[in-house]
């Protein structure tokens, strides 16, 4: 039922919007790999994928190198999760810090 108090957002429109978003996200999910692989260049066929862990003390570096040496798919996931997680965390943290300086961080008018 369309809400007469708020004629702008009817359930039909919301459904269309959600369906559009879902379709676009699915398309992006299916097509993004092709794009990145297409732009990725030649695979590193001559590289020997072994990290030298002999001189490493137990810690984060050793853990990362061990994952790299044992399972590259897991390493790929580790890279993705680390970068995305750090990006989100640092993004929100930096945002808070800049806000504390006193800079007005409201919406901008798009003046040219």
């Amino acid at each position: 039922m369309k809400n007469p108090a708020n004629p702008g957002i009817g359930p039909g429109r919301a459904r269309r919007w959600i369906a559009w978003c879902a379709g676009a996200l699915l398309g992006a999910y299916l097509l993004a790999p092709i794009a990145v692989m297409a732009g990725g260049g030649k695979p590193a066929t001559r590289l020997v994928n072994v990290a030298d862990t002999r001189a490493l003390e137990p810690g984060i570096s050793k853990f990362i190198a061990d994952v790299y040496n044992t399972n590259l798919i897991l390493f790929g996931l580790l890279v993705l999760v680390t970068m995305a997680g750090m990006g989100a965390l640092l993004g929100f943290a930096c945002d808070k810090i800049v806000g504390l300086i006193g800079i007005d961080l409201g919406k901008l008018s798009h003046h040219e």
């Binding site: 794009a35 996931l77 970068m83 993004g91």
Partner: protein, 343 residues
């Protein structure tokens, strides 16, 4: 300075942490300000300081994904990210990149790839830089004519406005950009920029940003934010795909991301204090420097090319920082005088 050296087990080298932070910071500032990934600064920067090239590309792409999240969050809060437009474009971009890759393979079979692609790269950079600069100068002439009271020339429709009028269903509104056009417009623009980016072997941020302005008709700030949204998606997948190929030095990427996050935040906030056309002018200058750098590479002056692009990156980020500091000081003074006036 040895105290800041860390061992990177995957690349098998020792590298200075401060250098990683500096490179990350520099490209973060430029990326947040222009809406680009900045691979053309990071890859030669890492490489000239001794980072092996195969790892330089993967490590750059990995940190780019994280850095773009930082910028996209801030640009999103500024209202500069048109998610609808970004998603529509990414469909075209991905198809275009696949087509571009096939075109490269075809040119390689003919033995023409190297020759044609390098020339096309230089021509493309010169064309984009030239057009953006021409647009800036035209705009400034109009502003000057208006301020001196001279009669302004009749304002004509831009090429983007003409494209927006093409009635090719489905027509769709992009509220964040303030435009309504056929869905095919951003898809086709994405497709074209995707082909070009793929053929040139670059991420494509420096092509997409002006394409969003001059072909789709976005305001400059929305073009910057929306482009970063796309870089975020492709960068995240790039981090994964290069990771499984074993080409990412994760420790280096983490240090770079720490610097880039701060830089990206500053570069993004700096757009608040400049007009869209100022961003376009700085962008044109950056593109010309990149063009000269590619020319130097063609002349096999690789070290000169890398040094030039890295120095240019540092200088441009300093200029952006200067704009940010000036903007903050002016804003704070205005706030103080407002408070003083009201009390």
């Amino acid at each position: 300075m040895d105290v800041f050296d860390i061992y990177l087990p995957i690349a098998g080298i020792e590298f200075n942490v401060l250098l990683l932070l500096l490179i990350g910071f520099t490209v973060g500032v430029c990326g947040g300000f222009f809406g680009i990934g900045g691979a053309w600064i990071v890859t030669p920067a890492l490489n000239i300081f001794g980072f092996p090239m195969p790892y330089a590309i993967g490590t750059d792409l990995a940190h780019m994904g994280g850095k773009s999240i930082v910028s996209t969050i801030r640009h999103g809060k500024f209202g500069n990210v048109d998610v609808r437009l970004g998603l529509a474009m990414i469909v075209g971009t991905t198809c275009g990149m696949e087509l571009g890759a096939r075109l490269v393979l075809y040119l390689e079979r003919l033995g023409l790839a190297e020759e044609y692609i390098r020339k096309a790269y230089v021509v493309f950079l010169a064309l984009i830089g030239g057009y953006v600069l021409y647009d800036y100068l035209t705009h400034m002439r109009r502003v000057k004519a208006a301020s001196t009271g001279k009669e302004q020339p009749e304002s004509r429709h831009t090429f983007a406005q003409k494209l927006q009028r093409l009635h090719l269903p489905p027509m769709i509104s992009f509220p964040a950009s303030g435009i309504r056009c056929s869905l095919w417009l951003p898809v086709l623009v994405g497709l074209t920029t995707g082909i070009v980016a793929s053929v040139l072997g670059v991420g494509g941020g420096f092509i997409r940003m002006p394409a969003l302005i001059y072909l789709v008709g976005c305001p400059t700030l929305v073009a910057v934010g929306t482009d970063l949204f796309e870089v975020m998606i492709t960068g995240a997948y790039g981090a994964f795909t290069y990771g499984i190929k074993g080409r990412v030095e994760l420790i280096a990427a983490v240090w770079m991301l720490l610097g880039a996050a701060i830089g990206a935040q500053m570069g993004t906030v700096a757009v608040k204090y400049v007009r869209g056309y100022s961003i376009r002018l700085l962008f044109a200058v950056t593109i010309f420097i990149a063009c000269i750098s590619v020319l130097l590479k063609q002349l096999e002056l690789n070290v000169a090319s890398s040094v030039m692009i890295v120095s240019a990156g540092i200088i441009i980020s300093l200029v952006i920082m200067g704009l940010l500091v000036r903007g903050v000081v002016v804003e704070q003074r205005a706030l103080k005088s407002k408070r003083g006036g009201s009390s």
